[in-house]
Symmetry: D2
């Protein structure tokens, strides 16, 4: 079969950015995409020099995303999808511009800066007929998929307790006062929205808990804090969770916990078994069937299951990591886009690719947490389905 790469463009992600480079590597690992256009920076010079450095032709380096959307739409070899890796507040207008041209959108999380935008975006996606993917990359880890499979297939029994956490330490000091650009925009309400640590990493933990458990969070009780003096957004998130099918949980995310680099971790307990997975040791999944010794399931190892094997490139014991997990998401996105362009169904991977609905769920979570925290941790429902029409 002849090889067909999907032509993509990128908005944001110029020199010095973090997540843009990550997306580019993720698209290259399995050779399913070709980066041919970009509006990589709001600074035209930086946009161009970044583009050339990435092998994008000069004429396809754009000063504005609007121009890019229009121009690419006109070209016979125009991009099939755009990757949005800007600060959060730009997600909505950029996504809108491309969706309105019928160009597929691959958007970093959180989906928008607030829930209203997210709901509006859902309507736009729906009208556009284009494909929209939200890059909750941690769902791409093979053993996260296997964890979901174990829950789905009943190995854990009825879920009772779900403990999610995501501590980091890089904002322990007030680094936003230095020239650290990542810290600057992520602690700035204008660019990040009203949630700091909550939106930056809390949503990942939330998304992962929902993805693996197959349950929705129904209500939250939260206590947010900005521990660093003068910080404008929360840097520590404490929440209790109640899920819609009876499980209860906690979610802790923090960016002021020294010694934690990127400590996303999830534990799920049912009446038959428990599961534990840590992002920093992603090639191991610990399964404890009640009454039996705990098992160490390894990616592509004995007991890893079909889905984890499908997403493994190298044998067990040859560690895959963050970039491969991200690439797995792009692998499924490529399958989906090819299917769509071929007029086929995308069912097989559909359930695995975070969608606009997951984005809305995340924004509901953020909104509810902010509300609860303001109301001295009063339980706050996420159920705003009436708004969702």
């Amino acid at each position: 079969m002849t090889h067909k790469r999907i032509r993509i463009g990128m908005v944001g992600g110029g020199d010095g950015a973090f997540i843009g480079a990550v997306h580019r590597i993720a698209t290259r690992i399995d050779d399913g995409f070709e980066l041919v256009a970009g509006a990589l920076s709001s600074n035209p010079e930086r946009a161009l020099s970044s583009a050339l450095g990435l092998g994008i032709q000069k004429e396809r380096s754009y000063d504005s995303f609007q121009q890019m959307a229009l121009s690419e739409k006109q070209r016979a070899d125009g991009i099939q999808a755009v990757v949005i890796v800007t600060p959060n507040h730009m997600h909505f207008p950029v996504a809108k511009a491309f969706l309105e041209q019928g160009i597929h959108v691959i958007c970093d999380k959180p989906v928008t800066k607030d829930l209203d935008e997210a709901l509006a975006l859902k309507r736009i996606v729906s009208e556009s007929g284009a494909f929209f993917a939200l890059t909750h990359n941690y769902t791409g880890y093979p053993l996260v998929r296997h964890a979901k499979h174990l829950v789905d297939s009943g190995v854990l029994g009825n879920l009772r307790v779900i403990q999610a956490e995501y501590p980091q330490d890089w904002l322990t000091d007030k680094v936003e006062d230095t020239d650290n650009k990542q810290a600057q925009w992520r602690t700035d309400p204008e660019k990040s929205g009203m949630a700091g640590c909550l939106g930056d990493i809390g949503t990942h933990a939330f998304n992962l808990a929902c993805f693996i458990s197959g349950q929705k969070v129904q209500e939250v009780s939260a206590d947010l804090t900005a521990f660093v003096q003068g910080r404008r957004l929360d840097d520590n998130v404490h929440t209790m969770l109640r899920f819609d099918q009876g499980a209860k949980g906690m979610l802790w995310s923090s960016q002021v916990a020294p010694g934690n680099e990127n400590g996303l971790k999830i534990r799920l307990y049912g009446d038959k078994a428990g599961l534990e997975w840590s992002q920093e040791s992603p090639n191991e999944l610990w399964l404890s069937i009640f009454g039996e010794p705990t098992q160490k399931i390894t990616r592509a190892g004995h007991g890893a299951g079909e889905e984890a094997n499908r997403l493994s490139r190298v044998p067990a014991g040859h560690p895959e990591g963050y970039l491969e997990g991200f690439a797995n998401l792009y692998l499924d996105i490529a399958l989906a886009i090819h299917a769509i362009e071929d007029g086929a169904a995308v069912d097989s991977v559909q359930g695995f690719i975070p969608s606009i609905d997951d984005g809305i769920e995340g924004m509901k979570f953020i909104t509810a947490v902010l509300t609860s925290s303001k109301n001295n941790s009063a339980w706050q429902t996420l159920n705003t389905d009436h708004l969702n029409e």
Copy 2:
């Protein structure tokens, strides 16, 4: 110096009990105590056969604790202290009986079955002039002491976040319906008090957080659940914590989390450093000074500090465990009792031995958590100092 053992008696802890045997081993490890009397069971036959099996003379095996308190008081070689290892509801009357005879009391936790009893007990202790110790044994681990030392000496800076957890799995099924005696009384409100998992292990996690941090919990927001159908007391505890000096935290304890045997773990984060310690790997303490690589401090190893060394019997790398941690508490209790009987001050170890005040603090915590949980997790203060007069 000639060796002097402290003469002790025990109430509870007959054949088949768990914690009584643990206390006895703990008293023997450093040879500081001699078990010479007991009312080991409410069943007279079992009391006697248990006593003989332990080398207690027949005449000092008692059918009732009241009789034991009176008789031992009369003897020239009577016990100097009593160890109380009954179910929770008996702690108060037994402690009272011995304190009223001026006999020192070493009591398992939680101190009493409710806060009122605990406050009453404080008055009795105070009037008796006798010594009262509460065996929150986890504070006896050498590296827990070192953790406290690191916090006290400012290595962590201002504490911001304290995460405590204590999951187990042995109540995943409804074992109280079998002949499991431990499960029977621990899930029975008549014997355990109103708190299940909360009183059994949640208080340990609470106590440990306060012990290491040197802070008090000011208020709690809690969500208790009995996941196992028909269970009469909570088997899962979710709480958010606010400490009196500004730190915030979470405490999770559970007895229905498959794969967790005795997972007491605490993490503390200040503006300068973070600490992590797990009861199941008690010979390691992880110290992360912000900006430096994480250090693995080992018991009696490089960097372990004086207090940890004082409480170590064997060199680093030769694991000490639960029983030695328990014995450390008895080591300090022996120092205190010798000091008291010699008319000397007990200052040096006083701060390390959990006291009636710690017991009261624990009962306030239990009370506040129960109240908060009933009130849909409304924050509930522990400050009941007015009651405490």
Copy 3:
């Protein structure tokens, strides 16, 4: 059943010694022994003050072990067994003195200072009719027993590879030139025998490999080194092993490996499964049945087996350690001595208590390793059975 403690005396182990104190704790943990006599030091004053500090009566603190053997034999309440915790070169004369009085001997390892002494000792033991135990304490860990059980019951299939290691770091510098008494005698050929690290800890690793595998080492190829300049005995041991039933292995022990505290570890691989156990995490045993996920078996946890459970005092997750492992050996020794004194068979625990034969096997190992190393690592057989008649 009335409690009967075995009356013991101790030779060596005065104030400041390490292993004597360990033995005493081990005898107390399960209350099976009573220390009533001692020749605790060659220095009479230290001997007496040490004895009084341990609660030994003045008249039973002896200036010489010979005198102790004779006097205790005469007493109606004389010791039933002696514990020998002197430097290696004294093991033989002390053991001989007590065995000749028909007093049971519990002797620290290595059994003697050379093979000839060990063979002579075997004859003495045999003629005495008394019981002789060698305290290879690591065989007392519950999960070591379970590992042996798994091998014995065929779970691993035919053993192919056995990797044993025992690194430490405390002799990285030339501490024998300081006032470190442990270092002084352990690096002194007059007191330790011709083997340094090899005799001190290499024999433990050797013993453990044989104990678990049920195989004997047939020949060794070895390369010994004294890395620290001026050190008189080896501080690093490299050996390749060939076992009598076809398995092959390696054994590394070192006392100059910074970062290793007491890193005894063993891995065994058969054609059906593999096993891994580390002394520093003694409550976990890793079992990998080929084709299945690795299992984490915990002491007293699911899958730990009868023998491990018999030797567990507290539930899974409550760590037991070095002292409890040592106490397990004493538990079995007590069973054996009671059986002997009752005229009964000691079969049930016999296979678990290291004997004079294990001591001889260890001395053969030491001898063969020294010979091989001198002969530029030429394979050297341990088979000296003709000497053994």
Copy 4:
């Protein structure tokens, strides 16, 4: 700066092969290469279909590597380098063919099927003026580079002990009798050379030990075994090592050790400090400075150093793995090739890229180990420098 990809071709690595796909991903991760030609299989049909599937134009898919070397040399846009991923016995003829056309060669290990070929290849490389890199990929891990840096800069002091191991388990059964192609050629002396496990993975461990320590192995004492009945090449390797600057070591590699997936691990001990690194947890390096607590150094974390940071794409806590380590080697190869083509020096990365000399060293090691093992483990020197002229 405009982006310039290096044009490469590949020999071997058609559909179903393992290591070819790995090399392709490694070349793509940092976008420094473009795969434009191939002789991907000795089967012409499979060669073509594999090529098309990879986006190679039909005319540049060749039936033979000889034809490919000649044709590509003629093209203005011909390949600049060839990647050789065939079974071992083909490395020499393929490398020769391309080197004779002045095309750079990137060759998988072991360099050739025997030492004579390796020495011959060195002459060919030298005469060609082309660049030759050997893909000992494990040297590309950031923390392996940092380990080397710590040794080079004296942090460990004088090296004393080096312990390398590389256990796997996939050949526990006789899978070469199934349709497992990897097992078939790797256990076939015609395709693998005379070394089985030794050549396949033992050389990796050997290379890593030399790379980090900066020392050469001077002599070896070895004991090879084929444990699986009927297997034609060794599946377990036991060796003792003596290094040229006084260090001693052991190297164990095995493919019949159940529970080990890809357990490459190295530990180095000097008179000042020790180091430990495991390939399965590649983002952690354990540094133990004697007298201080062990430090956990993380990739891109505090204390990771410049070289590790240069080779990190994502922040600490976002795990990088096997493919990124492999890509790091390609990153340096790209720097070297660009430098060569620009007529500049390649000094900066030269020391990091395994060369023909490393390949020869590996073949000397294999040869010496085979010889020693045949001679009942007699020490065998690797010093064959006279042959090397």
